[in-house]
């Protein structure tokens, strides 16, 4: 079961609705604010530019801190691609993240629908348990869960990285329940009168109605899976099975510092680990930043 990254929690409850800024703020104040924001932007974007530049430099020039390399060495990417199976790692990361995100989304929606649309004794207690389980540090269950996977013979496969997501994840259940509660009940009742069973009500009426919520959960879990290091460290031994962060860590251990440093290769691998997430972010920016009101 995936622990939701705290930033995901924060993102998910954020919502932004444009409202004109107060017009009374004096012009000088606004200019100062603009100047500070530009400085902040530079501070936030500089590391990305630096990283990209460093990944294209010869080894000796990584530390010159220039944002435009004197000599552009595209070969760094070819080199890292040749030395480690980075294409495979990217493929592993994409497939695991897609499966993990799809599993978490569907199972959490299924459970959330149960909490939103059925009334039964003990429901609130059970939902309280769902919420309480979010507080449990992952460290408490880490060792026994590893033992379980070892017991069923899957401890060194990629299965533990997504299979826990098949059973719903507390935070996403909470989130999607809010989405379901925001839907009018009459359409289900109408559907029920038309003879639609609960499964059809869920699949044909409830699911399409909460699409923005599903996309949001998918994105949050994709990001959580894409950026996770700890579980790949615990479960993946064979380099062919590595995810991108797990592989990047071995690249860093091998080429960073230590003996013959090749930081340019480490930086090229870091770029490759970052770019897919940034592309996804730009493709789905509105879901990340403008989340619907709950």
């Amino acid at each position: 079961m995936t622990t939701v990254a705290p930033e995901a929690v924060e993102t998910a409850v954020s919502d932004v609705k444009p409202r004109p800024a107060p017009s009374r703020s004096p012009r000088r104040g606004r200019l100062l604010a603009g100047a500070i924001l530009i400085a902040v932007c530079v501070a936030f974007l500089y590391p990305f530019a630096w990283l990209l530049a460093a990944s294209l430099k010869p080894a000796a020039e990584v530390f010159d801190n220039k944002l435009t390399p004197d000599t552009v060495v595209w070969g760094n990417y070819a080199e890292i691609w040749r030395i480690v199976p980075i294409g495979l790692w990217l493929f592993n990361s994409v497939t695991i993240a897609v499966v993990a995100a799809a599993a978490a989304t569907l199972s959490s929606a299924f459970v959330a629908f149960g909490f939103a649309h059925y009334r039964f004794p003990g429901r609130d207690l059970l939902f309280g348990l769902v919420l309480a389980s979010m507080m449990l540090p992952a460290a408490v269950t880490m060792v026994p869960v590893f033992m379980e996977w070892k017991y069923v013979g899957l401890a060194t496969t990629q299965v533990p990285l997504w299979a826990g997501n098949l059973f719903g994840s507390a935070f996403y259940i909470f989130l999607l329940r809010q989405f379901f509660l925001g839907q009018p009940r009459d359409q289900y009742e109408a559907a029920a009168l038309d003879g639609a069973g609960p499964l059809r009500q869920f699949w044909s009426f409830a699911i399409p109605a909460v699409k923005p919520g599903l996309i949001l959960v998918f994105l949050l879990e994709f990001k959580a899976s894409w950026t996770d290091l700890m579980r790949p460290l615990i479960y993946l031994r064979d380099a062919e099975l590595f995810t991108m962060p797990r592989g990047l860590k071995t690249v860093l251990d091998r080429f960073g510092g230590g003996g013959d440093a090749h930081w340019e290769l480490v930086m090229a691998a870091s770029v490759l680990a970052t770019v897919p997430m940034i592309l996804l972010f730009f493709a789905a920016q509105k879901y990340f930043l403008d989340q619907p009101r709950r």
Partner: protein, 308 residues
């Protein structure tokens, strides 16, 4: 019994049945991946277990050991130090950024994107990059510090500066919290400010007595969530200072955070019993700190009468 009441009963039973169908994945997952492991972890914490031979009963030995273990003390101190600076600094910076963004009429969307980008960067990539940006002699951060005449510490090698370096790096991902505060600020109705201004409130007192109370529920939420996450800080520090092969970190123990120590006890030293005891101590620490924060919030957090 009339047919009508029988029909109602059957329907009720049917509904309960369907409710169970919908909840069953979670119930199963909770049993297998949360509750069962919790019990197992508690039992294991009273054993010695290396995953090869079967567990041996150890009584309170693990707990006795962790009370005396100097590394545990070091790891707790490091983790509390990091949390005590990381959480407040993030929140202050996020509030400042959100307040600035709110004043913006054009480009707010662009700035929001910019400050959010670091938050979606994989922490391993970020950590690898910051090992170089924070490098003592050649790093860009120190180049800038020297440029304005400030001291340029060895952020990645000097034990006294490793944690400040990590705290500084953590500020780069302030975007998620800032975006959240911006949303909260934009929910404050402009009339509130107009009224306060008519009463002659200055900028600071406006912020202190109007803005802060109105967004205090959001701040409270981020304090709790960020603190819990911060007490489990792992990925960035592990990436920068530890590896599976090295016996210890490259810097003494300045970057020995609690979960790193726990992780290494479990998966490097295969001391599953001791790691389980460590996990329960962490749970206890998190529970106590969260409890104190919840209690403090009763005095400090202001809730509007009606959720909008």
């Amino acid at each position: 019994m009339t047919t009508a009441t029988m029909a109602i009963r059957t329907r009720r039973r049917l509904r309960l049945g369907w409710a169970l169908v919908f909840l069953s994945p979670w119930i199963f997952g909770f049993a297998v991946f949360t509750f069962g492991p919790m019990i197992a972890s508690l039992v294991l914490s009273f054993t010695h277990y290396d995953m090869i031979s079967s567990p041996e009963a150890a009584g309170l030995a693990n707990y006795r050991e962790l009370v005396q273990d100097p590394y545990v003390r070091k790891a707790i101190a490091n983790t509390l130090f990091y949390t005590a600076f990381h959480v407040p600094l993030q929140i202050i910076l996020a509030l400042g950024l959100a307040a600035l963004l709110r004043r913006l009429q054009k480009g707010a969307r662009f700035f929001r994107t910019v400050i959010y980008l670091p938050a979606i960067t994989p922490p391993v990539a970020m950590a690898a990059m910051f090992l170089l940006l924070l490098n003592g002699s050649h790093g860009a951060v120190n180049q800038a510090l020297r440029g304005i005449g400030l001291p340029a510490p060895n952020w990645t090698t000097d034990p006294a500066w490793i944690k400040p370096g990590l705290i500084l790096m953590g500020l780069w991902t302030v975007g998620t919290t800032a975006v959240l505060y911006l949303a909260a600020l934009q929910d404050v109705p402009p009339e509130v400010y107009e009224a306060a201004q008519l009463d002659g409130a200055g900028a600071w007192s406006l912020f202190r007595h109007v803005t802060l109370p109105l967004i205090s529920p959001t701040i409270y939420f981020t304090v709790i969530v960020n603190t819990i996450a911060s007490l489990q800080y792992f990925t960035e520090a592990y990436t920068m200072f530890y590896s599976a092969t090295s016996a210890a970190s490259s810097d003494g123990d300045a970057a020995l955070f609690y979960v790193i120590y726990l992780f290494r006890q479990a998966f490097t030293n295969l001391r599953m019993g001791y790691a389980s005891a460590l996990a329960w101590l962490l749970f206890l620490i998190i529970a106590i700190i969260t409890f104190l924060q919840v209690r403090a919030s009763k005095r400090l957090v202001h809730y509007e009468g009606e959720p909008r």
